[in-house]
Amino acid sequence: MSEAQEFKYIGQRTIRPDGYDKVTGRAQYGADLSLPGMIWGRTLRSPHAHAKIVSIDTSKAEAHPDVFAVVTFKDFGSVEGESINAGEGAADVLDLARNCLADDKVLYHGHAIAAVAARTERAADDALDLIDVKYEVLSPVMDVEDAMKEGAPVLHEDMFTQGYEETPSTPSNIATRLEMKMGDIEAGFAEADVIVEREFRTPTAHQGYIEPHACTARYDEDGQSMVWCCTQGHFDVRTSTAKLLGLDLSKLKVVASEIGGGFGGKTVVYQEPVALALSRKAGRPVKMVMNRDEVFIATGPTSAAKLKAKVGAKKDGTITAMQGWMAYEAGAFKGSPMMPGVMTMFTPYDCGNVQVEGFDVVVNKSKVAAYRAPGAPQAEFAAEMVVNEVAEKIGMDPIELRLKNAAKEGTQTIYGPKLKTVGLIECLEAARDSDHYKSALADGCGRGIAAGFWFNIGGQSSVSINMNTDGTGTILEGSPDIGGSRASMQMMAAEVLQIEPSNLKPIVADTDSLPYSQGTGGSRVTFATGMAVIEAAEDVVKQIKERAAAIWNVTAEQVDYADGVAINTAGEEKMSLAEVCQAAEKTGGQISGTGNINARGAGPSFAVHLCDTKVDQETGKVDVVRYTAIQDAGKAIHPSYVEGQFQGGAVQGIGWALNEEYIFNDDGVMENPGFLDYRIPLASDLPMIETIIVEVPNSFHPYGVRGVGESGIIPPLAAVGWSVGDAIDRKVEELPCSPPRVLSLIQNG
């Protein structure tokens, strides 16, 4: 693709096609489907953070007059440990099953143990109290330090650390150890004039989507079944649910409802297999909707982490060595995003001497789920804080220092490939030249800057475009639309077909209607599903040409297609797309294009953020007074929704940096499982979030698209953290910068 493509529709700010339903309340989300004869499912959850289950007696609950069914782990049938694609990355089926309903052990406060289906939600809740579970309570391990200690209580007797040359013979809580390196780290530090080394901590934080997990499941007499749910990947829900219940994929239809936020947290199943198991037993459709406290204690969150970063540089600002160490909490089952943490930590820098070591550690908290650029915000927080300190030490502007060392095309990454064209330098220059950076800092304020890198992914997407006889069409895609992606699909198809976007209706089709599509995650949809849409639309154009050729009695090669019109280059005739569609009956039947792809060549997206904060010296309260998010979109298909991704990511990062954290008591019980005490940013907490869209095209996408959904959550942690430190003349090492923590920094240094 060329750098200066002219577009007819791409880049406009159209009204999203699903918008009317959403502003009128018509749109149906996870909890909004009710079926005839439907009953309600509720979940019994562990009051303990770590305990053996001695026995479960459900007989009294089963005898309750309003109860139709009770299920426990045993109702999953025979599941074995095997790896399946369950959302963002592989998951072990047995772990998945044991997370949905505990087997012989509960591993966190809130761990599901049994579920009841009853005539009403209240009756189901009452029946939960009738289930008698006997526990043998064990001591919980609540952070990586305790969990990694010799002699710590072990969560899984069969877990032996992977990643050492010799696998240890005693079980531990360390699932995996990983090291990546390049160059000569010792020599790099020896060359340095300045070395900064610090240790950091980030808290357990939740994705915080406003819509709780919800589903309605129906299992029919003939074994056909249906699950309606809010998910980022309904095909993956089908895989997981079918595995746990022993069903053929063809027997299970999963319908993706509208989804009220996910940010990675709705890529895995919690209730879906349970609801279907209940329906199978009860012979009735079953609806399950989590309460907010269940969302906090039993879903998400992202890993709390302990990290170290060490960076060496010459006086002229050349970075000579970068070293990192990190331990990420996985929650109750292995699989934290430590690996992407290791991979991304220093990728914004073109430095040849790098070494990073990471540990994936199980603790007695709910199993972590993906959260926007999973693993990167924690690792890059540590790296960016230390890079800022290096700049401070050598007396160099932090943007200049980054420009001097910025990763660019050809930069060797620690994880293997060299970077292709990327836009970090352009983002840094835009930051340097921004009104924000040029404006003087107000009295008593601090300023922070940080960069962020995320790979983005491609993957499998399946799309059909069915043309109607009047020349309009329907786009069937398999990626749930979490933030307006149907608008982008519509625009990309319109660009290829050269017809008004509103003539194309994009819908998220169920699992019966399309081949497998990976879920919405990894910032892949506009890139990969967009490529599938383009391919399907090109397939339609090809058929339009063939049909027109048949009518004109020429070859398809002799037909051109421009501005929505087929043109006979061997004669005078022209036919619009609508006319060719109208005539389809006579030229071989209806027209339908397909694009079933496995997209490669996702373009990484770099982001650079600027943050000014003001700190109340007496209370430690931090206010963000100005914020600018700059990011490389490759090509912004719908600029408003690109800006929206930058802003949303920035504000989630601001919340993570300033307020959000799980608070546990000594028994491992979460004490703040609600929006009042787990405080996500409110409208009154924030200024406008300024945005600058940088466009350095990704050569692998026909229109240059890079994913934009994730990088924006990475820089805020250090941009805010550094800014707060700057305002109070201290070094922040622990997030969140909540009032008590900031006050103690001010008072005690």
Binding site: R13, I15, R16, D18, G19, Y20, K22, V23, T24, G25, R26, A27, Q28, Y29, A31, D32, S34, R122, Q207, G208, Y209, I210, E211, P212, E258, I259, G260, G261, G262, F263, V289, N291, R292, I482, G483, G484, H638, S640, Y641, E643, G644, Q645, Q647, G648, A650, V651, Q652, G674, F675, L676, I680, P681, L682, A683, S684, D685, L686, M688, I689
Partner: protein, 159 residues
């Protein structure tokens, strides 16, 4: 337990329903009356997804009992637009791309309407504080506030 019979008015239409004494107005709207435009994000008054008006006052319907609607006038998202025409606030939310997932949107639109009825000319700060009870996790509020300010201006011009 015996159900209570409630006569009320929803979006200007008379409605009768039976509900348990413990049912919230939100439960009744969503589960009895199938008015699922009003959303539940927390059930504890902290997110504003369930915002409705009760006798003209903005409330969290998860904190109101179904029986409390007896003889009252309830306003929900389903009643904001009229006769196949979007309300200005709804139009502005679309124009400004003030929604991503959209689950907070019904509550925010109901709250914005209440705000602009009380104060047709709010400052940005007043709007931000009035809407502080409506959580949005997707947008960072920037585009929502722009939509609200634009709607206020358009409504003032039209008034």
């Amino acid at each position: 337990m015996a159900k209570s019979h409630v006569s009320t008015s929803i979006n200007g239409e008379p409605v009768e329903y039976l509900c348990d004494p413990g049912d919230t107005l939100l439960d009744v709207l969503r589960n009895e009356l199938q008015l699922t435009g009003t959303k539940e994000g927390c059930g504890s008054g902290d997110c504003g997804a369930c915002s409705v008006t009760l006798n003209g006052r903005l409330v969290c319907s998860c904190l109101v009992l179904g029986v409390e609607a007896e003889g009252a006038e309830v306003g929900t998202i389903e009643g904001v637009g009229a006769n196949d025409k979007l309300h200005v606030i709804q139009e502005k939310f679309l124009e400004h791309a003030a929604l991503q997932c959209g689950v907070c949107t019904p509550g925010l639109i109901v709250s914005t309407k209440a705000l602009l009825e009380e104060n047709p000319n709010p400052t940005e700060e007043e709007a931000r504080y009035y809407l502080a009870g409506n959580l949005c996790r997707c947008t960072g509020y920037d585009k929502i506030i722009r939509a609200v300010m634009d709607a206020a201006e358009t409504m003032r011009e039209g008034a």
